[in-house]
């Protein structure tokens, strides 16, 4: 008798979840953020429906401030998977010139990400959206269901979640309501990296360390991905450093870490020996206590 390892069990669970949604939802989509969790999500989706391509599109809510390498990678993965790629940009926000430097991380994230995501869901009328969120990322996610129900206004009510037992997911909803689905809920950061390693899953090269131009601002290393879109403050100077990213978002909001890790085992080694948690590189979590829970209630993933 074969004993399944924890990764085999997690993969089987995620595949089961993908198939349930496709069987029960009318118009599902995968929210694709181009990061490592999205890479795993996409890989598992392809396994779930093989030899068919996953029967839903990839939707990227583009803030227009992602790293160039992410845009290149996005195009490549869409082609390789045979899935339709839908890119949604909040054009209203673009017109208003919303950006992280001019408006700060709070406004930028709200307008270009949260509002934009809701626009995309409303526009294409997706009734189920896959996301790569994990319960180990953050306290409020630890209590979220795998099938997370949203009102027609995209709100999450943490006190009124549907009981989720065994492998039985209630995907029923009224017109206009939707469900966010998190097939990787029970994975940890280490599981993600180990799976990427074992399955040889392609990821954006920014995760690997390389010499890159950076400045230090407010104690964070910012990689200059686009010299036309940054005003250097007095005393800031661009340096070439061996850096990599533990998490990928908008380049001005994502801190790089100095690292010598150029292979996956080295990345995993570094992660295991490091002393700060993954999301610390992201600035949106620091805004206020319980900020992620608040953002989730408002519709941010």
């Amino acid at each position: 008798m074969t004993d399944l390892t924890h990764l085999q069990r997690l993969e089987a669970e995620a595949i089961h979840i993908f198939r349930e949604v496709v069987a029960e939802a009318e118009n599902p989509a995968m929210l694709y953020s181009v990061g490592k969790d999205s890479a795993v999500l996409l890989h598992v989706a392809r396994k779930a429906f093989y030899p068919s391509p996953p029967p839903f599109p990839l939707v990227h809510v583009d803030t227009t401030w992602k790293f160039k390498a992410m845009y290149d990678f996005r195009a490549k993965m869409a082609e390789e998977s045979g899935m339709e790629l839908i890119v949604h940009i909040n054009e209203e926000g673009v017109k208003q010139g919303i950006g992280p430097f001019t408006h700060g991380s709070g406004v930028h994230t709200d307008i270009m990400k949260t509002v934009s995501l809701k626009q995309a869901l409303d526009k294409y009328k997706y009734d189920a959206a896959f996301g790569g969120a994990r319960r180990d990322e953050e306290k409020s996610r630890a209590k979220e269901r795998i099938f997370s129900f949203r009102t027609a206004q995209h709100r999450w009510d943490p006190k009124n979640q549907r009981p989720e037992l065994w492998k039985l997911y209630n995907a029923r909803k009224a017109q206009g309501e939707s469900i966010r689905v998190f097939p990787l809920s029970n994975w940890t950061e280490l599981d993600i990296w180990q799976y990427i390693y074992l399955e040889d899953i392609p990821i954006v090269p920014l995760y690997y360390s390389a010499k890159r131009p950076v400045i230090e601002r407010d104690g964070t290393l910012i990689m200059i991905d686009d010299f036309d879109r940054i005003d250097l403050h007095e005393g800031e100077k661009v340096e070439e450093k061996m850096v990599r990213f533990r998490t990928l978002g908008c380049w001005p909001l994502t801190g790089a870490v100095e690292s010598e890790a150029t292979t996956l085992p080295e990345i995993i080694q570094e992660m295991l020996l490091t002393t700060t948690s993954e999301r610390q590189g992201r600035m949106i979590d620091h805004d206020a206590a319980a900020s992620m829970e608040k953002k989730k209630q408002e519709g941010y993933f």
């Binding site: 429906f49 093989y50 409020s140 943490p158 006190k159 065994w166 002393t275 319980a290």
Partner: protein, 633 residues
């Protein structure tokens, strides 16, 4: 997060290799409020070095700000995630936590102790293999302990840790510990656990969590962590016959037809003879397809795609079974149900029942009995309220393949979904299928008032319009019926004038005849409510006692008294039928309001003032009332 192993630094590939082969254990912690569940989990995370320095810094700051441990670290703050919880200082929902040691990876469901959140505990228990039951050494076994033990056993968990916590507060007194262990052993006898492992501990102080405590020299058993790392949870799903509920049929082109699903029991290999249920058609397995290549074997817990050698009709919800040991199929069951919604279970109502990949319509009969979770005794019950457990018969609209829950969790567990709210209102475990012969009372059981109302999508009610002659009762009732009819509702009006032309033409207008008139109308109205109709009764009905009689014939919420409150002067001035003039001239005897009294309702559900609203507006008021009270749901 340094898995303190030097191996990570020296031999990362070796480390990855060993981590790759770790097994997974899922467990739940449960107990009463303040037993220290969150503290224990926080401690496990801390001891297994799963806490990062930035989290630790935040934890230390939080501990000083809102912690309950003075200057010491409050581990509970690590896992009490939601902002509301931090304010209330309690855990209110299931939280999942992850940690690993050198031997195993763990998923923990932290489940709440508050009575109203028992449904969340069942949720955590449904996927767990081991349960840690927290006992406060000072308090011993409480109602909640019994309740949680029972739920844990009901959901099929076989291994229990009796965590006798806060032993530091009772000075590590062995007698206290022994007494609790003994009392629990007595209580747990009928619960069918394979093992109960008591451990004396203090989650706060770290006694017997990862290291043997010097405070309990009298204890020779394992530490909690040692137990969790080594407990053998035989996966019974792998020794059961092959089962795979088909989730999705994979048809990329005409040449490929694969059946996708997660194996719920047993093992399958190419060449195996399989039977599709409920159709009972057979074929053999051609291949087990995955993106990484075809498999020679697949076992319970794997998600695969199976192709067959014959073109047999298989669709979502069917179950592929070992042909020589197939699952039974039936459409009537006895099941144990745990109700999870504020609105109580409605016997006779049709709910959606989801089990495996099947969703059927299931009518739930009144409970045969409820189960007292404190004593596990059977109780008489007409329904099940939130957090109540009972044994009920279910009648499905189709035949499904199943196994008893005790034999296979995934083939015998189900959820019940309300068809209107879409909420998951209950969960159940199939005990066994009913033979048709043993259930011949099905008709009487099912086609009752609720069933009739259900099929009309409304809640039957008697709207009793009372008021003076010419007050506008019939006009308003007619306006309301038109609106209801336009909405597709099923209605009927019993009108005083019409009934007196037929059923009651033998009755006059004496007080006795008036009472008999109302009695008959009440009985007819009751039959109509029983038929599921929105029944509008428009009668002067001047006496309170008869209106009360009508009310008492009906069930709670079925009688709505509508006082069409038009002053005598206004009604007399309208005098649509010229009756008041005749009565004033003495041509009609016993006319209400003139020479016979009208007793206005003291406390009607609705009072309509017709002097400042049109009949149409009055009808809208009633419509809003019906909507608000759920009669039209």
């Amino acid at each position: 997060m340094a898995h303190v192993s030097d191996q990570i630094a020296d031999d990362i590939l070796g480390y990855l290799k060993s981590h790759e082969t770790k097994s997974l254990l899922r467990f739940i912690t449960c107990g009463s409020v303040d037993d220290g569940k969150s503290t224990l989990i926080g401690r496990l995370l801390y001891e297994s070095k799963m806490i990062f320095e930035d989290q630790l810094a935040a934890l230390e700051a939080d501990s000083k700000r809102v912690g309950t441990q003075g200057q010491e670290i409050d581990f509970a703050l690590l896992v009490d995630g939601l902002a509301a919880e931090r304010e209330q200082g309690i855990t209110i929902d299931v939280a999942y936590r992850f940690f690993s040691t050198d031997r195993r990876k763990f998923i923990v469901a932290d489940t709440p102790g508050h009575e109203q959140y028992t449904r969340n505990m069942a949720t955590g228990a449904s996927t767990a293999e081991v349960a840690i039951l927290m006992i406060d050494a000072r308090k011993g076994i409480l109602t909640q302990t019994r309740r949680h033990s029972f739920i844990v056993s009901l959901l099929g968990i076989k291994h229990v840790v009796l965590a006798v916590n806060k032993l530091d507060i009772v000075d590590y007194d062995r007698a206290v510990y022994d007494e609790i262990v003994e009392a629990y052993a007595e209580f747990a006898k009928p619960l069918d656990f394979t093992s109960v492992t008591p451990i004396p501990m203090s989650a706060l102080r770290g006694d017997n969590i990862t290291d043997k405590s010097g405070h309990t020299p009298w204890y020779n058993g394992p530490t909690l962590m040692a137990y969790l790392e080594t407990v053998e949870v035989a996966d019974s799903a792998e020794t059961t016959p092959f089962r795979m509920p088909v989730q999705w049929v994979n048809r990329p082109d005409l040449d490929f037809r694969g059946f996708a699903g997660m194996i719920a029991g047993g093992t399958v290999r190419p060449g195996d003879r399989v039977k599709a249920l409920p159709s009972s058609r057979e074929s053999t397995v051609k291949s087990i397809v995955t993106m990484g290549g075809d498999l020679n074997e697949a076992v319970a817990g794997q998600s695969v795609t199976i192709t067959l050698n014959d073109e047999i009709d298989v669709s979502r919800g069917d179950v592929l079974c070992a042909a020589d040991d197939p699952a039974p199929a039936a459409d009537q069951f006895q099941a144990t149900i745990l109700w999870m919604n504020e609105n109580e279970m409605l016997p006779g109502r049709t709910y959606l029942m989801k089990t495996g990949a099947t969703t059927a319509q299931a009518t739930v009969a009144a409970p045969k009995h409820a189960i007292d979770v404190n004593t596990m005794e059977s109780l008489a019950a007409h329904t099940l309220a939130l957090n109540e457990i009972g044994v009920c018969n279910l009648n499905l609209d189709r035949t499904i393949a199943f196994d008893a829950y005790k034999d296979n969790r995934d083939m015998g567990g189900f959820i019940l979904i309300d068809r209107l709210s879409n909420e998951t209102v209950g969960v159940g475990m199939i005990d066994f299928a009913l033979r048709r012969a043993s259930n011949i009372h099905r008709q009487a059981l099912v086609i009752d008032k609720t069933a009739r109302a259900e099929s009309k999508g409304q809640k039957p009610v008697m709207l009793w319009f009372t008021g003076l002659s010419g007050s506008g009762k019939s006009t308003i009732a007619n306006a309301l019926e038109q609106k209801l009819h336009a909405m597709g509702r099923h209605t009927y009006i019993l009108d005083g004038d019409n009934v007196r032309h037929g059923l009651n033409k033998d009755l006059g207008f004496t007080d006795a005849d008036r009472v008999e008139n109302i009695r008959r109308v009440s009985e007819v109205g009751k039959l109509m409510v029983d038929a599921g109709l929105l029944t509008l009764v428009s009668f002067i009905s001047p006496f309170r006692s008869e209106r009360r009689m009508a009310r008492q014939m009906m069930e709670e919420g079925e009688f709505v008294e509508v006082h069409v409150d038009t002053p005598l002067a206004v009604a007399e001035e309208r005098d649509v039928k010229g009756l008041y003039k005749k009565a004033r001239r003495g041509e009609i005897k016993n006319f209400t309001g003139i020479d016979s009294p009208y007793e206005p309702p003291v406390d009607p559900e609705i009072r309509l003032d017709t002097t400042n609203q049109t009949p149409d507006e009055a009808a809208d008021t009633l419509l809003a009332f019906l909507r608000e009270k759920g009669y039209l749901a």
